[in-house]
Amino acid sequence: MTSANQTRNPAGGVATPPAARRPAAPASSRRAETRRKWYEIIGLTTPALAVYVMFVLVPMGFAVYYSLFRWRGVGPPTEYVGLRNYVLAFGDPIFLDALRNNAIIVAGSLLIQGPLALGIALLLNRHFRGRALFRLLAFVPYVLAEVTVGIMWKLLLTDGGTVDALLRSVGLGGLVRAWLADLDVVIWTLLFVLTWKYVGFAIILLLAGLSNVPQELTEAAAIDGAGWWQTQRHVTLPLLGPTIRIWMFLSMIGALQVFDVVWVTSVPAVRSLGASGTMATYMVDNGFFARLWGYGNAVAVILFVISFVAALLFQRFILRRDIEGAITGRANRP
């Protein structure tokens, strides 16, 4: 801590100074104040809590309950089967394919989008003519609706479509593949579309992070004789850490739960062969289309547990220093 009572933290925002000591008040009025504070807390959080309980916790409880039944969605569930649906899911090669596809998308998102977004954000953070336009362009795919993106790429990637024509016209005809039909290629096609769609989000987050890197530090580095590259490597990047970690967290959870783009871009047949489905599309294909409602709920619970555990581990080991105090309580404070 510096001697100033305000300090900038790297993630942005200003830490509030400790509250000034108030003159001691009579005990009764202090109790009234405490009571009022509690009323406020209850009054202000109840609506949010009620919505959270009604639309998050209760449905989650129902999902767990339904997942224990053999249930086709007609009439109330009556045939209790215990954990059979979970056993069936992990015994289905198509579900295991979906898990693998999710893993590819998680790893691909982090390894491809991260460096790509960082490079573009560093470029867009420099001053040049038309910077606003380029920033806008980088962000446009993220703003487009998932379904729009899915249909657009589906049409572009169709057999003999625009992408094929483009590749052939620049002499790269040898690279042309059956982008959406070749069972070995389609997951990489999807990864490309997802990267195109979501890299803008990483860029915007990183740009926001970059705007919080104090000018003074880069100037100081420049005075010390550091080049542009050295400044980025030793000053900017470390200060961007919290932003990068938060982006990784959001990206990982998004990749585990990805549905829309995969659903729209890949055709049902290719999904049913395990080449392009994710856990979420598998859940809908089986829950609604095969009308295995109990089974679909079991898949939903598996998806939830995987995302939840991944989130907890990530918070525990990687986000720890960024959220210290906010979630971990006072125990670690000096």
Binding site: V74, A178, L273
Partner: protein, 436 residues
């Protein structure tokens, strides 16, 4: 004190909103009037159908609702048009579960209808619709469970092969194939003039699966098929034979490249698009195809000129009935607690006059005798003739067996198309799904 009052007001607000939410679930029900008092009380019928795209189908249903209200001013009809998959897979099941279903909604008959009846969701209309059922004939059986009628069809037809007469002439094929040997010969001739012999929308799974269904129809005796629909027993070796025949047929490479990602209908890159725009010569599809081909054709007049239809060819020496056909239809059913006017509305839709108007839209074949006059298209006329000549109409197998077995079956068939599946795996997946 003020704080307390504010908290109280907040709680009151919360409770009102909660009761409002609860109210939404229970509201909207109409009391069923006693039969004698038909059209006495004002009622609102909610009607869910599957023609959401602007076109003759949607326009026609709006007109039907308006005409019915004009005939019976006490009835107001509220239409909601929902895309088929969404309607069938999520909206109707969810509405039925929540005990707030629409009064009139789509029903495709078969295994799904059976499950809905067993759960007590549908109105038994047997006694009210005897005349209509007599008019419709055996097709009405698809909407029966244990001899009781639970819905009425408005569209019904068998499937066959839609083909391009011009391309057939160019390839030197003089008459539509009547056996699979002739079909194979036609495929060879069409390849020689560099067109796709047969377009298949395998991407959507069911258009590919229908090829297997037809092999099963040709390979299985009729009573084996009937037993499979009611008991979900697939032990007869003819089901494996169907997959073997399909595999042999796929090996002659009659389909377009990368068919595994080709959608069935509704866009120019679909199998429909290939046939409608002269890039493919044949497509296996039901009677509704006339309308969906029109939607994707760049030159509708040309399409009307070259399009023709013939029944699925026979396999010489096979166990199945060569005059049997696969078919299916669309119908409507009434929710159990729907007002009595609902049944009157079903009867109205199935009346010869309304059916004739439906036939005139060209979106499908009518089900009632006396509506044939509305059919102008020659291809549709030949389907109607073949439908009446068919010795036995087997409902689409995925509809007949219900979504669970149906989906497993279609997935297994798609795997044969992709080269990774086997005929035996289709049958074992069907058996596994039946117990899932």
């Amino acid at each position: 004190m003020t704080t307390k009052r504010r908290v109280g007001a907040l709680l009151a607000l919360l409770m009102t909103s909660a009761s409002l939410v609860a109210g939404c679930g229970g509201g909207g029900e109409e009391e069923a009037a006693p039969p004698g008092e038909l059209y006495k009380n004002p009622v609102t019928l909610t009607w869910w159908h599957n023609a959401p795209q602007d076109g003759p189908g949607k326009t026609y249903w709006a007109k039907v609702a308006k005409d019915f209200s004009a005939l019976h001013p006490s009835v107001t009809i509220k239409i909601e048009a929902i895309e088929t998959n969404q309607l069938q897979r999520t909206r109707i099941p969810a509405a039925l579960l929540s005990n707030d279903p629409p009064d009139v909604f789509m029903s495709w008959g078969g295994g799904e209808l059976r499950e809905q009846v067993e759960a007590g969701y549908l109105k038994d209309i047997t006694d009210q619709v005897r005349t209509e059922v007599g008019n419709i004939g055996s097709a009405a059986e698809i909407w029966q469970v244990n001899g009781k009628q639970y819905g009425l069809p408005f569209r019904m037809g068998i499937e066959g092969i839609w083909y391009n007469k011009d391309l057939f002439a160019k390839a030197g094929i003089t008459a539509p194939p009547t056996t699979f040997e002739e079909l194979n010969a036609a495929v060879t001739k069409l390849k020689a003039i560099n067109v796709v012999p047969i377009a298949v929308g395998a991407g959507d799974k069911w258009p590919a699966a229908h090829w297997w269904y037809n092999f099963a129809l040709r390979d299985c005796p009729v009573d084996v098929l009937k037993k499979a629909s009611t008991d979900k027993v697939f032990d007869d070796p003819c089901f494996v034979k169907a997959g073997q025949d399909l595999k042999a047929f796929i090996d002659t490479r009659p389909f377009q490249n990368n068919f595994i990602a080709t959608p069935g209908q509704n866009d120019p890159t679909s199998a429909n698009g290939l046939l409608a725009n002269g890039r493919a010569a044949m497509e296996l599809m039901g009677d509704w195809n006339r309308g969906t081909l029109d939607n994707v054709a760049t030159d509708k007049a040309k399409l009307a000129q070259f399009i023709g239809w013939f029944p699925v060819p026979a396999i010489s020496g096979s166990a199945g009935d060569p005059k049997a056909a696969l078919g299916g239809g669309d119908g409507f059913a009434c929710a159990k607690d729907a007002p009595a006017e609902c049944v009157e509305f079903l009867k109205y839709i199935a009346s010869p006059e309304v059916q004739k108007g439906y036939a005139e839209t060209g979106t499908g074949l009518p089900v009632v005798k006396g509506a044939e006059a509305g059919i102008k298209d020659p291809a549709l006329k030949s389907i109607l003739q073949a439908t009446s000549e068919a010795s036995y109409v087997q409902l689409w197998l995925d509809t007949a067996y219900g979504s669970t077995v149906g989906t497993a079956m279609n997935d297994g068939i798609v795997a044969i198309f992709s080269g990774s599946g086997t005929p035996e795996k289709v049958v074992s997946a069907m058996k596994a799904a039946a117990s899932k």
